[in-house]
Symmetry: C3
Subunit: 186 residues, 3 copies
């Protein structure tokens, strides 16, 4: 592992907390609905959800560091801004769930590209973002196929998940990669 | 006073004008409603409202300058961007009034943090923002308690005011502090 | 011409593609409606629309280069961010079509000013933006007068076009001017 234990734990905690906050918005607005309550809920999420997002954050951060040397600097303000940008986008997806799907998708993709332009760093960040934009929605499609959760009918146009979901994961990949750079190793 | 008269007057005018514009959005969308028309209206606001926002802007700017030396530079473009960012956030709160309160609060807080990361400047700005985030909603809670105004039922979850109100005042505090730096003394 | 053929073609293509994407959002949400199908449709637009936006992008870029020397640098990330910012704003206008017109206009103008602060470059960019903010809505008012298209009743308060339309064109002018700087000559 390129990440040390402390970096990995911070990435996991940030990812799990961010996933809980964003998922709470999705559940509260009806963007998504859990269809299975086998596991306990943490806030509004089945407990596997924040764990999965936390692990995905660690995996993305590790991938970032394997793809090239991190940019120097460890600004906590930059880290807070990166996290806030993807949580804002997450909450915005909940707001636009009832909007026209094309418009919602264009809006979320445009903002994801702005997040990438602001926080991304060349090819390594782009690879992380593309991997996230492919694997994240794929995982959620399998979750929907397994009847564990569903998206609102107004936002299920991409094989049962929302059309804007790849853009949200794209921004997630950018931010997780940036955080891996920003969290100082021990 | 650390602010000279010219700086104080500009801060008052910017705050009062911004308050009028934002309040007009709140009134027009039904986010807030005046229950008392003792004083004349200016546009859609009881006249005490822009005066209060103007004075709060001056007080925040004065606080900022007492907390430490201002950062150098007096860019009018930076000032315009700072003002535009908090007015955009103000208008957005009006748009999300009918949305799920949790989602609205997460969205507005995330964007307030982005505004703080962009325009804030260390501890002095943060202190101004936290003071504004506490005192502003507190003042509005008293206004609601006094039956002078009310928030829409969809946005009154924080002791009668909106859950996102502290975030809006947080961004206001950051921007007022920034403007105190950006307006050149005589 | 200050633009060489390659620059002009790229500006035309970017403008036409952006116009198609944004217009598709407007048509899909009912913000605008075509009343005349004399010409073939490209996606959701009458084919003259993307052509007009492409030509306006070229004209704005040419105007920018005549007004002064371009700032140095040809960052493709900056170009992508500039394009994404105006497409995000375009999609957002579609989202806020059913909102209170004053609030929508304040929001879109505030964000347009943020785009100008971020991507603009002094007087030449400002002149391009103001020209676009005047001529663009004027052209659309004529289109509405000619019964070729209409705006939704909730967004037709400015002589038949939306109150936020000048702000959208203002941002367009800023971005087209920036792209003229960013696309390297042959």
């Amino acid at each position: 592992m390129r990440l040390d234990l402390r970096q990995a734990l911070i990435l996991f905690a940030v990812g799990a907390a961010g996933g809980l906050i964003g998922d709470a918005c999705h559940v509260a607005t009806g963007t998504t609905m859990y269809l299975d309550d086998t596991f306990p809920f943490i806030w509004k999420s089945q407990m596997w959800f924040p764990i999965a997002v936390g692990l995905a954050t660690v995996a993305t951060g590790e991938t970032r560091l394997r793809l090239g040397p991190p940019r120097p600097g460890h600004s906590p303000v930059e880290a807070a801004a990166a996290i806030a940008s993807v949580i804002a986008l997450y909450a915005l997806t909940a707001v636009v769930t009832d909007e026209d799907p094309l418009t919602a998708t264009v809006l979320i993709w445009s903002l994801a590209i702005l997040i990438a332009a602001r926080f991304g760093g060349g090819i390594p960040a782009l690879v992380c973002a593309i991997l996230a934009a492919v694997l994240g929605p794929l995982a959620e499609i399998l979750i929907v196929e397994a009847d564990l959760a569903m998206y609102a009918p107004s936002a299920d146009g991409l094989f049962g998940v929302a059309g804007w979901l790849p853009a949200l994961y794209f921004a997630f990949g950018i931010v997780a990669a940036r955080l891996a750079e920003l969290i100082p190793p021990r």
